[in-house]
Amino acid sequence: MTPSPPPYRSLKLRTPHGPLVPVRDPEAVELTGPVFGVTDVTALDGDLTRQHRGEPIGERITVTGRVRDRQGRPVRGQLVELWQANAAGRYAHRRDQHPAPLDPNFTGCGRCLTDDDGTYTFTTIRPGAYAWRNHDNAWRPAHLHFSFFGTAFTQRLVTQMYFPGDPLLALDPVLHSVTDEAARARLVATYDHDLSVPEWSLGYRWDVVLDGPSATLFEEGHAR
């Protein structure tokens, strides 16, 4: 039995004390949401290994999955954004002074639009574990940060994807901020050998379900 990881320290002064106020108004603006298109994403933005003159150091991976709402309908043509540390566990961000090397050929940001099936796809490198100061000897497991838009602003999701079999998963305060074990498991991708490209990249599958009501749900009488 692994002991629970220490708490995520930054919560203390930032978590509201008051309860969230429920909004049940079927005319709420939040039941609709922003849209994006081909002007917001270039064709190369989904390949984080081709943003510089040289190739980044690291294990090349492909990450793909479907974005759906809670009724299982694909979220089509919506924006997916990805950011991450490099193979050594360092972000290309000035505030990250972790003494691991920066990679001049890797910025670690990408975006794409979901297709008609709700599928997103990225090519990138597997990030390294990341040292932080939450507690003594604190290491974050390798993770990818993701941002998703649904059909409503209520369905907005920013989250993190993890890699299967990582021994640091059991020790991570951020992953364990999700207290339900089954829910935590939904943040861990699956290695999918069929997605691996011979002599090129390893494939991971990670499907996403966006929560929250939308105007179309109200129209169909599902929500209340």
Binding site: K12, L13, T42, H145, S147, D180
Partner: protein, 186 residues
């Protein structure tokens, strides 16, 4: 086993989204040279009253004519360089994105929302497990369904204060005394 449609949990945005999410023109929702442009701005504070310097705000609102369809083009990219290209200066997309600065301050330029008296805001930050929804009301609205449910003190946290030159001040307090009203949608 999980059901096929169980939602994916939220995780914190963390401190290092800066190269990925903010974009040139993200805060400039109003098309260029529109005389009806308003400025909505304020600070984000934590439970100790300190400014939150690594928050990201997203804004979603109807167009002045009440349309809620939005439009692409909030985060345009230059296909030549791959860098952020800014907006086209013509299209009203209804969506904006702005990080707080080193003072914890943010500002957007937009057009007044049509049909409602509020702009919807999502707050993301290190230390928030899930983003927080709130609303900046640019005028008090006795007919508004949400405001009607709140007592005067709580209601005041959602009312942006009109200032000179079509500016509106809207501070967000994540925790503690005068904590902003945050919303959930069911």
């Amino acid at each position: 086993m999980t059901t096929p449609h169980a939602p994916t949990p939220s995780q914190t945005i963390g401190p290092f989204y800066g190269h990925a999410l903010p974009a040139t023109g993200g805060a400039e929702i109003a098309p260029l040279a529109r005389p009806d442009t308003i400025t909505l701005h304020g600070y984000v504070y934590d439970g100790a009253g300190e400014p939150v310097t690594d928050a990201l705000l997203e804004v979603w609102q109807p167009a002045p004519d009440g349309s809620r369809t939005g439009a692409p083009g909030s985060l345009r990219r230059d296909p030549v360089t791959g860098l952020a290209a800014g907006r086209d200066g013509v299209t009203f997309t209804g969506f904006g994105r702005v990080p707080t600065d080193a003072d914890g301050h943010w500002a957007i330029h937009t057009l007044p929302p049509g049909g409602v008296s509020y702009l919807s805001i999502a707050v993301f930050a290190r230390g928030l497990l899930d983003h927080l929804y709130t609303r900046a009301y640019v005028r008090d609205d006795p007919d508004d369904a949400l405001l009607a449910t709140l007592d005067a003190g709580r209601r005041a946290t959602l009312l942006a204060q009109a200032g000179p030159h079509r500016t509106y001040r809207f501070d967000i307090r994540l925790q503690g005394e005068d904590e902003t009203v945050f919303l959930e949608f069911e």
